[in-house]
């Protein structure tokens, strides 16, 4: 049955049925009950697309992830969905597989499908595309550092500071030759981390050796291959390896195990992210906690703030909201520390 047939069966106008569905408080209780009874009996649900057209709202938000096989990204997605659900929205999750072309395709699709807002995690968006989204007047929030737009609301983490803190910790553990397995993406974050690592080495009077820095794919395989190559090529192995993500660290540890090198006795390892797995590895991985849940929660909160502002027709804000979240070092066993001083108490 469609809404017209419901109206006919109840002997009321289509508008009245619509009111029962959308503003039941405006319908006389008796009429409301009668119509609701028919709706229930016929198991009628309103046409979701038609409703979207009518109210210019689909109660849907789009979330574009760089990759959904990654547990950290899923933690962000989970938090976004949680807030969206509380707000009565559903979340369409698209996986761009770290492919800028695919990201654009998905954005096109999401906007065509009239989502009420967009959340982009580690977006590869360029200037031109970003202004297209602005022209479409779709509320949007970025999670992660942006390369293109400064005038977008965003949630980000100071990865440079996090990497600097970890590098300093590795030095404090007594390591001098500290290698870095640096993921190629997300690019702005990777660059910031490399910078943080180099800054601390320099400040501590340790020479930055480019032969100790490997650019790898940001996944377990990338860490595995990078570690193997590094050990194979260097005449003398480093004291420690700092991976720009926990997945890279897992891959590196796997390679070290294969090469019969012990962590941390022969070579220390540190990760970045504090994935769930990091505290389940043997040895437990020392890492930098990224607030994935909070990133998702804030991304979603800021998006709904924008959506609500748009609805309330409040004067448009000029200044973008930027929320910076904190990283926190998690000292476990893989770094080879001897004192518990830096540990969380």
């Amino acid at each position: 049955m469609n809404i017209k047939q419901i109206a006919e069966a109840a002997g009321v106008s289509v508008a009245t049925v619509s009111r029962v569905l959308n503003h039941p408080e405006n319908v006389a209780p008796k009429t409301r009950e009668k119509i609701q009874k028919i709706i229930d009996e016929e198991e009628y649900t309103p046409n979701w697309f038609a409703q979207g057209l009518n109210f210019k709202k689909t109660r849907t938000i789009g979330l574009v992830l760089p990759q959904n096989i990654n547990s950290a990204n899923m933690e962000v997605a989970n938090a976004v969905e949680e807030v969206a659900r509380q707000k009565g929205y559903i979340t369409l999750i698209c996986n761009m597989e770290k492919d800028p072309r695919r990201e654009k395709e998905y954005l096109d699709q999401l906007i065509t499908r009239k989502v009420d807002g967009l959340i982009l995690l580690y977006s590869t968006l360029n200037e031109e595309y970003a202004s297209w989204i602005e022209d479409e007047n779709v509320p949007a929030v970025l999670i992660g550092e942006t390369r293109a737009r400064d005038n977008w609301d965003s949630v980000f983490v100071d990865c440079r500071a996090g990497a600097a803190e970890m590098t300093a910790h590795l030095i404090e553990c007594g390591h001098r030759r500290i290698a870095m397995l640096c993921g190629k993406d997300p690019e702005p974050e990777a660059k910031a981390m490399l910078q943080g690592y180099k800054n601390v080495l320099k400040a501590s009077g340790i020479k930055v050796e480019e032969t100790l820095i490997y650019q790898v794919n940001n996944n377990i395989e990338g860490g595995y291959i990078g570690m193997k190559k590094m050990i194979g090529r260097l005449p003398k192995r480093p004291d420690a390896v700092f991976a720009s993500s926990d997945e890279i660290a897992y891959g590196a540890m796997d390679a070290l195990k294969e090469m019969k090198l012990r962590v941390p006795e022969d070579i220390a390892v540190a990760g970045f992210g504090n994935d769930r797995m990091s505290s389940l590895m043997e040895p437990k991985v020392t890492t930098v906690e990224l607030p994935y849940r909070k990133m998702g929660i804030y991304g979603a909160r800021m998006l709904f703030d924008q959506i609500e502002e748009k609805e309330s027709k409040a004067p448009k804000r000029r200044r973008a909201k930027k929320i910076q979240l904190q990283t926190k070092i998690r000292i476990r066993k893989s770094c080879g520390h001897r004192e518990r001083i830096g540990e969380m108490f």
Partner: protein
């Protein structure tokens, strides 16, 4: 008579109920106001609720220890809770906690929109926030306060920690950043005790100590801030009676907060404190709190200003019928002796330390020139 203005807010009395689980939602806050609190502070609201560890509170006769007590209601839910809390018509202060200036500013502006009357920044919780609480760093606290102040048009007060080397410095940073006031103090990092048979500490990680244990620390912190920084102070720590509240007020606080006592005794304890305060003021002919605020500070000097006077203890010539020898036992200089009903003091041995005057239950001993 007890009504007062704090940070521009009109309060019926200066006794607030502090942030904590007893103010965990709108209903709890409303009940706190109805119990007679001058204002209420919400349990600390955070960006993302966390699972609570169990157990997380332990107590003994003198106070309590807790691990991280934050709101378990998400920011979205506080819109409704704040409505309920405000329906009682009193002053509701939103306590917020976070780790970066922008995070705190966001939470503050949300709470402003939901109807809070003021913001209390709680960045001094010692439990589960690592060894150095944020509030021990004046520069970080400055940045946080500044960003929150510029995000809202409400009064912003900052809850300070005694776990800092110089509380005056952090209070100054709050003022410089535009903060309207400070709350002193938060719980103090500690362990209540150890079960010797099981070799198990009171809680399974370090906690924040509250209650009588920390009142002397709170009083000193409030006095220090009052003597060094011109900023309104809300005194907290171990208040369970009107006397305690008055001590804070006399040392420079403009208002006080009660937490642990409410947790242990229930909210009726507030009613009693406020009533007793009223009675005390009547008996002492105090018409306004301004008359007593900071009054004891005049008698609190810097060590350098103290005079070296050859005062010694006197027994006032009154025979002592007390069946105790506390003063005799406590005299480290062997100057006090008892024979029968009388206490005698060897003035050549007495060095005027003063211990006997406070240990005597009958207050019979006095220092005199």
């Amino acid at each position: 008579m007890l009504n007062t203005t704090f940070l521009g807010m009109e309060l019926p009395n200066p006794v607030m109920i502090a942030a904590g689980p007893w103010n965990r939602d709108g209903k709890g806050l409303k009940e706190s106001l109805e119990a007679g609190a001058g204002a209420v502070v919400t349990e600390s609201i955070v960006s993302d609720t966390m699972l609570d560890v169990r157990p997380r509170i332990s107590c003994d006769r003198l106070g309590a220890e807790n691990i991280r007590m934050y709101s378990d209601i998400q920011v979205e839910g506080w819109e409704r809770e704040m409505d309920i809390a405000k329906s009682a018509g009193g002053v509701v202060i939103a306590s917020i906690s976070g780790h970066t200036p922008s995070e705190l500013a966001y939470l503050a502006s949300k709470m402003e929109r939901f109807g809070a009357d003021a913001i209390e920044l709680s960045v001094s919780n010692p439990a589960a926030e690592s060894l150095e609480v944020v509030a021990s760093h004046a520069d970080i606290l400055f940045d946080m306060t500044k960003e929150v102040v510029s995000a809202v048009s409400l009064p912003v007060m900052v809850k300070l920690s005694q776990n800092t080397t110089n509380i005056s410095k952090v209070a100054k940073a709050v003022k410089a950043a535009g903060g309207s006031g400070v709350t002193a103090i938060n719980t103090v990092r500690g362990i209540l005790g150890v079960d010797l048979e099981k070799a198990v500490p009171s809680l399974s990680t370090y906690g924040g100590i509250s209650g009588e244990y920390i009142r002397p620390l709170g009083l000193a912190s409030v006095a220090t801030i009052a003597q060094t920084v011109d900023i309104p102070i809300c005194g907290v720590g171990g208040i369970s009676s009107a006397q305690n509240a008055l001590e804070y007020l006399m040392l420079g606080a403009s208002a006080v907060q009660v937490g642990t006592d409410v947790m242990i005794q229930g909210k009726d304890s507030i009613r009693k404190i406020v009533q007793d305060l009223e009675i005390w003021a009547q008996n002492h002919n105090v018409r306004s709190l301004e008359e007593i605020r900071g009054k004891a500070l005049e008698n609190l000097k810097a060590f350098d200003e103290m005079k070296f006077e050859p005062a010694v203890s006197h027994a006032n010539g009154v025979p002592c019928g007390e069946n105790c020898s506390l003063c005799v036992n406590a005299c480290m200089y062997s100057a006090i002796s008892r024979s029968g009903d009388s206490i005698s003091i060897d003035r050549s041995r007495c060095t005027g330390c003063g211990l006997c005057t406070s240990i005597c239950p009958a207050k019979k001993l006095k220092l005199d020139l």
